[in-house]
């Protein structure tokens, strides 16, 4: 396989991916337990707040969204790690 990103970009990507996985994973959990501190962060209008069930559904949807993002970042992280390996191997061969 070949190198698509340079060494710095792959390391950046790897670190952001790790951060993304952990933070989005935890955020998803917090959305799932319907933390009131995240009340402002859900895509709900004033009308939605009439029904309890609707708000719960929106919380759940946000939680799933966060986990999807975490999942995407798992792939990005693996890809970046793979690129890091390719880069360091290339460096090793040249010298």
């Amino acid at each position: 396989m070949f190198v698509i990103c340079g060494p710095k970009l792959s390391i950046c990507g790897f670190i952001i991916s790790i951060w993304g996985i952990i933070m989005m994973g935890l955020l998803g959990v917090f959305f799932l337990i319907k933390s009131p501190l995240l009340l402002e962060d859900i895509p709900a209008t004033k009308a939605d707040f009439e029904e309890r069930a609707k708000v719960d559904a929106i919380f759940q949807q946000s939680a799933y969204n966060c986990w999807v993002v975490a999942g995407v970042y798992v792939f990005v992280g693996l890809f970046s790690y793979f690129q890091m390996r390719m880069n360091s191997r290339q460096q090793y061969v040249v010298t």
Binding site: I16, W19, G20, M23, M24, S35, P36, L37, L38, L39, E40, D41, I42, P43, I58, Q61, S62, Y64, N65, C66, V68, V69, V72, Y73, T95
Partner: protein, 831 residues
């Protein structure tokens, strides 16, 4: 590991070294790195010193080594760093080294010159090859023109029978020159030819596609082949001169195609031969450089060590008998044993029988300040030293800075999420210490971050702690223990009707009075509109408390200094009034802050008197009428007492110390008398200044006395004013702890609500897509703004608080650093 509390005790020592053993002893001392030599020949010119020839030879060696290093780097050969640390070779080996370097340098120079000549040759042949190829088409055109012209001429010559003989007689033969010129110069060249030869020459040119290598500089140059047709000798000479001027190289090009083909074949063969020779030269050069590259690092170290030793030997004095060298040096008392051992080793190595002698001397000069630090404490010592190196044996603020600095930083930074990232960064740098130290040495910014890795780790760890206290994780709070506030009993109609609901802590269903949130800020405040108002009060009071604590601690450290330097007058007349002044005013303020926190609960908080107004009224001696506005009974009398006590401290600070000094002068006529003179000598950092000689006559004595008293009074007045005004301004200065933590919290909130919120605000699965794109932006902005910018800002302010507010209470910082003669430091400098 010595104590970091005060600098090490230093002594001036005299070394007597036998001339043969001197080199080896200095080499051993250099490896040890515990001795700072003084220059005993300060007025001697650098060129008149004893070992100037040896230093010159070392310089030559270094120059040759640098030349070799440059060649090695140009050839792209990696220089191996085995991490070996060879000892300085004895003087007789120096000649061998010099011979080796000389040989290598000559060889390299020869090879380089040869290579240049060969390349020049190669270039000429290549250009000739291109010319022969390209001019084929030109000649065909020229033939065509020639043919065209000829019948015309033939007609003319027939027509003009009477015509010029010259015309008819001379055949229209075109001369030509062929050559090669830089592509950039071609347009000017054409124009020049046109003008100079009045349009009577004919130029054709094509480009050479491949760039050619310039033999001197090694650059790739683009060139063009040109051929100029002209008639007559005058034009020929003119053309040749112009070509010379434009540095176009002309080549002899044969006219007939057959000759050209032959020449082309010959040129090809010669090019092939030359290529082989060039390759072999290149190989040979490469081999020489590779063998040099293996040893060059070791050679560099050896050459530098020899040079350092001879520089040091130049500082020594030669004894009258010319047999031994005398050196003066500063060294720590605790390490005298090791120095003696090193001297003994050196004497043994040189094979000399006479042992070297180390003699301790007493002096009135101020010794250099030496703190024994390890890799952890050296970073903190460095930031203290940036402000000023500690005076000799003064209390060192560094051991306290190790904890207070990251703590004050954390108070201003106060976000657990950001603190975690910072701590992880610090942890990575500390974990990979050894590898990172060998890797990147060039980059300046990285070097600063790496040097402060322990500071960063501590700052991050402490920030996690204050993040838990402020309950701030990337601007969101965590409800770990269960909030003490509850909305359970608020009616639904109230929730429908009002946008904002006020939760009264007096109502038991809303707030449980006996069970506050166990650790840190209650998470409900994150959602409250009046969060900032509430936190302001808390953070301001906390800043002032921390400030007064740190400043009182600083004053107590000054007592430690007075006791160490045996200055009882200062202990009583400066320390006690200062401490009393600070505690009576600001210590009292801290006390009533705590009192108000404890004594007033939610039910009576509405009638709690304002602390600021209380303090102001305390100084104005204004007391309220109603009993409610008092914090505690007996407040009036106690406050009056405190104000009077504080005011009474001021004349104490101003007059007691000069009075004692004056009395001591008056009673005794000894030179070493009174606290004033002693302190003057210890604080005196100029080299070579001796204490004033014993007074000759009474008149001289009186003059000194007057002079002393006036200066001393002014000195005390300045310090007293500085201290008293400083108390107020420094206490207020600590409010930056509040200001920066507020700024950080707000920035963090803005970043969340304006960046990440975009992603979370989309309905359905679109939200996931947008969040995936928005998250890296959030991450990068967090690191750039909140970690780097705010981090640097908080670092700077915490540093300022230490340097100005804390250290001005006790630190003089007028010392000079102990710089030992050490090979390790030398090698680090060069890298």
């Amino acid at each position: 590991m010595g104590s970091l509390f005060r600098s090490e005790e230093m002594t001036l020592a005299q070394l007597f070294l036998q001339s043969e053993a001197a080199y080896a002893c200095v080499s051993e001392l250099g490896e040890l790195g515990l001795v700072q030599f003084r220059d005993l020949n300060p007025d001697v010119n650098a060129f008149q010193r004893k070992f100037v020839n040896e230093v010159r030879r070392c310089d030559e060696m270094e120059r040759k080594l640098r030349f070799l290093e440059k060649e090695i780097r140009k050839a792209g050969i990696p220089i191996v760093d085995t991490g070996e640390n060879p000892d300085a070779p004895p003087p007789r080996e120096m000649i061998d080294l010099e011979a080796t370097f000389e040989k290598l340098e000559n060889e390299m120079k020869e090879v380089n010159t040869n290579q240049e000549a060969l390349k020049r040759n190669f270039l000429e042949l290549t250009e000739l090859k291109h010319i022969l190829r390209k001019t084929q088409s030109f000649f065909e055109e020229a033939e065509f023109h020639h043919q065209m012209q000829d019948p015309a001429l033939a007609e003319e010559s027939h027509a003009l029978l009477l015509g010029d003989e010259e015309r008819g007689g001379q055949p229209m033969r075109l001369g030509f020159v062929a050559g090669v010129i830089n592509r950039e110069r071609l347009p000017t060249f054409e124009r020049m030819l046109w003008r100079a030869c009045r349009g009577n020459v004919f130029l054709r040119q094509t480009e050479i596609e491949t760039p050619l290598e310039d033999p001197v500089t090694g650059d790739q140059v683009h060139k063009c082949v040109f051929i100029i047709f002209f008639q007559g000798d005058q034009l020929k000479s003119r053309v040749k001169k112009i070509c010379e001027g434009f540095r176009a190289t002309l080549y002899p090009c044969p006219e007939t195609p057959a000759e050209r083909r032959e020449m082309a074949i010959g040129v090809m063969t010669r090019i092939e031969d030359l290529q082989t020779v060039l390759n072999q030269t290149q190989d040979h050069r490469h081999r020489v450089l590779v063998s040099a590259a293996k040893n060059i690092r070791v050679w560099f170290i050896k050459a530098r060590k020899i040079k350092a030793i001879y520089h040091t030997l130049n500082l020594f004095n030669l004894d009258v008998t010319q047999k031994c060298l005398i050196a003066e040096c500063w060294c720590p008392v605790a390490d005298l044993e090791r120095i003696q051992l090193a001297l003994r080793r050196g004497t043994e190595h040189s094979g000399s029988s006479v042992p070297s002698i180390l003699n301790r001397m007493t002096t009135k000069q101020a010794p250099p300040t030496y703190h024994k630090t390890n890799k952890f404490t050296s970073a903190f010592q460095a930031i203290v030293d940036s402000y000023g190196v500690a005076s000799y044996c003064e209390v060192n603020p560094a051991p306290f800075t190790i904890i207070t600095f990251p703590f004050l930083f954390a108070v201003m930074f106060g976000d657990a999420g950001h603190g975690l990232i910072m701590a992880l960064f610090g942890l990575w740098m500390v974990w990979r210490e050894k590898q990172l130290m060998n890797q990147r040495k060039d980059d300046g910014t990285w070097a600063i971050f790496f040097g402060g890795r322990y500071i960063i780790l501590l700052m991050g760890a402490f920030s996690i702690y204050t993040g838990f206290i402020y309950n701030d994780f990337f601007s969101k709070s965590l409800n770990i223990f269960g909030s003490s506030w509850s909305m359970a009993n608020i009616s639904d109609e109230d929730i429908e009707k009002y946008d904002m609901i006020e939760l009264d802590p007096n109502v038991t269903s809303i707030y449980k009075p006996r069970s506050p949130y166990p650790f840190g800020l209650d998470p409900i405040w994150n959602m409250a509109e009046n969060k900032i108002t509430f936190l302001n009060s808390f953070k301001m009071k906390m800043s002032v408390i921390l400030g007064v604590l740190q400043m009182s601690f600083g004053i107590c450290l000054s007592l430690s200094n007075y006791r160490f330097f045996k200055d009882p007058v200062s202990s009583v007349s400066v320390f006690i009034p200062q401490l009393l002044f600070l505690l009576c005013i600001f210590g009292y303020m801290v006390a009533i802050i705590f009192y108000k926190w404890i004594a007033y609960d939610a039910s009576i908080s509405y009638k709690a008197p304002s602390l600021l107004i209380t303090m102001i009224n305390m100084f104005l001696f204004k007391f309220p009428e109603s009993q409610d506005d008092y914090l505690y009974s007996g407040q009036k009398g106690f406050q009056i007492f405190l104000v009077l006590l504080a005011v009474a401290c001021v004349p104490c600070m101003l007059f007691i110390k000069p009075y004692f000094a004056w009395r001591a002068h008056k009673s005794g006529k000894r030179t070493v008398n009174g606290a004033a003179e002693d302190t003057a000598v210890i604080m005196d950092q100029d080299e070579g200044e001796m204490p004033p000689p014993p007074p000759e006559g009474v008149s001289g004595h009186k003059e000194e006395e007057e002079f002393d008293i006036g200066e001393l009074l002014i000195y005390q007045a300045i310090h007293t004013i500085e201290f008293c005004l400083g108390c107020i301004s420094h206490t207020a200065s600590y409010l930056r702890l509040w200001a920066l933590s507020l700024a950080h919290a707000q920035l963090s909130e803005v970043l969340w609500s304006m960046v990440l919120h975009i992603g979370l605000g989309f309905q359905g699965w679109v939200g996931a897509v947008v969040t995936t794109l928005v998250f890296p932006a959030f991450a990068v902005l967090t690191i750039a703004i909140l970690l780097v910018m705010e981090g640097l800002s908080a670092f700077l302010h915490a540093l300022r608080l230490h340097w100005v507010e804390f250290q001005s209470k006790f630190y003089k910082g007028e010392g000079h650093q102990f710089v030992p003669f050490s090979f390790e430091a030398l090698m680090e400098d060069h890298n």
